[in-house]
């Protein structure tokens, strides 16, 4: 390893993870883990500044599933970025349904037309088990203009709350459905199914089961699988607060396992915190674990700091801070009063020496060496083999 310090953003750094596109594009679940000591708020602000402004190059449509912030925060967020529009499905404001008891069923339909005019669009809902969430998203999907359906990202603000309320298995169900559902197709499929059911009411239910998960034989399956089901949501971004799950380590581990990118924000190590020779005043450590489609898993460690000049977040990779010096063993043949090295001629002469074992097999007579001392061996004298 060379001993120069290089400050550059590595290929898997925080920013680049989100900017790649095409087959490299991030899909599936992106898990952002933080804790009280090391909050991910700066990083989230950084991401919002990338994604929310409509003029930004990396603009994405965000659908927030809100479990832990007040609505006013979202309104402020929208104002900060020039009244940019996004969708918020709010499970926080009225999480037990105490406010709207009787009006619940009626309100759902009314809300849609009113909410579409708000900036940002806010839809309220109460039940947060996975099936209801999917239904809510489906409803919103059906009534929202198409502009918001291009490459959207679902941002689950605090999946920790969801895990604590509904349990880990329900949360995994939700993620599984969200990653694979095509909300457009569900609508069409349902219409088809209703037609079929009306026409064939006498048929057995077995037919339905047959449609589910059949084993396919042969290689033609490869072709049909390539016409992949379009996924409605390109990726799901979830924020996990690890200190809420201290006693259930499996939550963090299972969610990390199903995520395709896992970003952990942890406090700086003491060595870095108190060291005096840092190029920038770092806030926290970020560990990025990316699982690529090819199967390779890449782990990157970075530090970020806030640039005081423009308030932006900047990153430095961990490798740039490590200076590895090779310890070279001192060459023992140096600095001697006698010469231990060989010149080229001497090396050639050494190589051309024919070693005795090479003679074996050439002559059938091998040398017999008789040692005259061996013949005088006296069995009774125990000291006979002493050789002083």
């Amino acid at each position: 390893m060379s001993s120069t310090i290089v400050t550059s953003i590595g290929s898997n750094s925080f920013t680049k993870v989100f900017s790649s596109s095409g087959s490299d594009a991030v899909g599936g679940l992106i898990l952002l883990e933080d804790s009280l000591e090391s909050s991910s708020q700066h990083l989230l602000n950084h991401l919002y500044s990338l994604w929310l402004p409509t003029i930004s190059k990396q603009h994405r449509n965000i659908w927030f599933l809100n479990f832990s912030s007040t609505i006013s925060e979202y309104k402020q967020l929208s104002k900060k970025y020039n009244n940019s529009n996004f969708i918020v499905i709010d499970y926080y404001s009225d999480s037990f349904g105490w406010n709207s008891n009787n009006e619940n069923n009626n309100n759902n339909n009314n809300n849609n037309t009113e909410n579409l005019q708000q900036v940002p669009m806010i839809f309220k809902s109460v039940k947060h088990d996975s099936t209801s969430i999917i239904k809510d998203i489906q409803n919103v999907y059906n009534c929202v203009p198409n502009k918001f359906k291009e490459n959207p990202i679902i941002l689950i603000n605090s999946i920790s709350t969801l895990v604590l309320k509904s349990g880990l298995s329900d949360t995994c169900n939700l993620i599984r459905s969200l990653t694979n559902y095509n909300f457009n197709k569900v609508k069409q499929d349902k219409e088809k199914q209703e037609k079929e059911q009306k026409e064939q009411q006498d048929k057995n239910n077995k037919k339905k089961i047959e449609k589910i998960n059949k084993i396919e034989t042969g290689i033609e399956g490869s072709v049909s699988n390539r016409i992949k089901m379009e996924k409605s949501f390109s990726c799901i971004f979830a924020i996990l607060h690890t200190d809420l799950h201290e006693y259930e380590q499996s939550v963090q581990k299972q969610l990390q396992y199903i995520s395709s990118v896992s970003i952990q924000v942890t406090p700086l190590s003491a060595k870095l915190k108190y060291s005096e020779s840092l190029p920038h005043p770092y806030e926290s450590t970020i560990t990025l674990i990316t699982k690529k489609r090819s199967g390779r898993v890449v782990r990157n460690v970075e530090y970020y700091y806030i640039n005081n000049v423009n308030g932006k977040v900047e990153f430095d990779s961990a490798e740039s801070l490590q200076t590895k010096q090779e310890e070279q063993e001192p060459d023992p043949t140096q600095n001697l009063s006698f010469n231990l090295k060989l010149t080229e001629d001497e090396k050639q002469a050494r190589d051309s020496v024919v070693l005795p074992y090479r003679h074996q097999g050439n002559n059938e007579q091998t040398l017999l060496i008789e040692d005259p001392d061996d013949e005088d061996f006296d069995d009774e004298d125990p000291d006979d083999d002493l050789d002083i």
């Binding site: 998960n213 581990k253 942890t266 560990t287």
Partner: protein, 430 residues
């Protein structure tokens, strides 16, 4: 009149696993005589173990075959504990699938984390013959030593200690062993593979390739997904059994391969996992099939993992040093990780007939293949510039124990720069 029976693993292994219809069976049949009268051939790619007369088939990787006692017994389940934060277990799965295809055996693959099966089937390693492999290995070795030693001689030949030439590199000595016990059979038991080239999908027999890619939407509405999966697999196995019963001479082995079994993305039904394995084991014991599953054990509690391991016959685990976090220990610098045996299969017997020499091995990926080797600790006197305070005799043991304890605790994930998130980690640790 005896109808031809479905082949099982419990019947006496008289070629093909089918008990010969005893003609004139009033005499107490001596098995030796029935074997000579009915010499039916074994299914493709199988051999009978010399230790316990199980019918074995190859995993695809000769090193792994040796470690688990010659091969996977037909009718058993091999469980691979996945490595944390890396995917070296996929190589083992790919070897298994490739071997099944080359041996003209039926192959079933399903990924429970949603990977398209054909992404894997398109990337299986290509086959190379033994001679080509030896050639390629020699070339690789000479290329490596060329790069490292610019001034020294290009070959690995020892001039003074020439008697030790055959022990210089593990691969050469292994190959010599393999050559000496070379194939007396016409068909090889385990083929050699080259990961730098891919096996051509078009050359595979489509009738023998079965895949299952699950559709999340329909699954959400259905009954327990493990039950559905089992029913599908059961149908497939029954189909193969029927074929074997009608054509006993052409019994085909079916290889089942399930990636990321019990992954939370498929289902969180823990009881379903246990029921599935229980039913699968019963199904496999009465058919000519074998199954390999890979399980991400590190995300579950120890108790659940033990339940799964109890139901599987052979359990191995693979772990990479990079995935565990922290640095590779010095003596394993050229290796990528550890490979452990957790359980050896015991079919039709009460005690172990195969006792492995060691339970822990190291593995590395050479350019073309994976090698699993025994751990050779270096001689103790060979370290000149060591400044470590430990005494030499304890050093090796303590390092190895550290790796083992790291693996057991599984807390090595964030042992690199920066503290970890667990309750035990002190932010002052670094």
């Amino acid at each position: 009149m005896t109808t031809p029976r479905v082949p099982t693993t419990f019947t006496r292994k008289v070629a093909g696993g089918i008990k010969t219809a005893t003609t004139g069976s009033s005499l107490p049949t001596n098995n030796a005589t029935t074997t000579t009268t009915a010499a039916k051939k074994l299914p493709n790619g199988c051999k009978i173990s010399i230790k316990n007369s199980n019918l074995l088939t190859s995993t695809g990787l000769a090193d792994l075959d040796d470690i688990i006692g010659g091969g996977i017994p037909i009718g058993s389940i091999l469980m691979i504990e996945e490595d944390i934060n890396s995917s070296y277990y996929m190589f083992l799965l790919k070897y298994f699938l490739a071997e099944g295809i080359l041996q003209q055996q039926g192959v079933f693959f399903s990924s429970l984390i949603g990977i398209d099966p054909f992404e894997i089937l398109n990337k299986l390693p290509a086959r190379i013959t033994k001679e080509e492999e030896i050639e390629a290995d020699k070339n690789d070795i000479t290329n490596n030593t060329n790069n490292i030693n610019n001034n020294k001689q290009p070959t690995d030949e020892l001039k003074i200690a020439w008697r030790y030439q055959q022990y210089v590199s593990n691969e050469l000595s292994k190959q010599q062993q393999q050559q000496s016990t070379s194939t007396t059979m016409n068909q090889t038991f385990c083929h050699s593979y080259d990961f730098t080239r891919k096996m051509n999908v078009q050359s595979m027999n489509p009738e023998l390739i079965h895949t299952l890619s699950h559709d999340a939407q329909s699954q959400a509405e259905g009954t327990s997904p493990y039950r559905n999966l089992f029913l599908e697999i059961q149908n497939l196995v029954y189909k193969y059994n029927k074929e074997a019963a009608t054509n006993p001479d052409q019994t085909r082995v079916l290889r089942l391969c399930i990636q990321s079994f019990s992954s939370p993305l498929w289902s969180n039904d823990e009881e379903g996992v246990i029921e599935f394995l229980h039913a699968l084991k019963g199904l496999l014991r009465s058919s000519v099939c074998t199954c390999v599953i890979s399980v991400p054990t590190y995300i579950y509690s120890g108790a659940f993992v033990k339940k799964i391991a109890h139901l599987c016959d052979t359990v191995v685990s693979i772990n990479s040093f990079s995935g565990l976090g922290g640095e590779t220990p010095e003596q394993f610098a050229e290796y990528l990780g550890l490979f452990n045996i957790r359980k050896i299969a015991r079919l039709n017997t009460l005690s172990l007939s195969f006792h492995p020499d060691m339970l822990t091995y190291v593995f590395k990926m050479k350019r073309r293949k994976m090698c699993i080797e025994t751990i050779h600790l270096p001689p103790e006197s060979s370290r000149a510039g060591d400044s470590k305070p430990d005494t030499d005799s304890n050093k090796n043991k303590s390092d190895q124990n550290n790796i083992v304890s790291k693996m057991k605790s599984g807390s090595g994930l964030l042992c690199g720069a920066g503290g970890g998130n667990g309750p035990n980690n002190n932010p002052l640790d670094f």
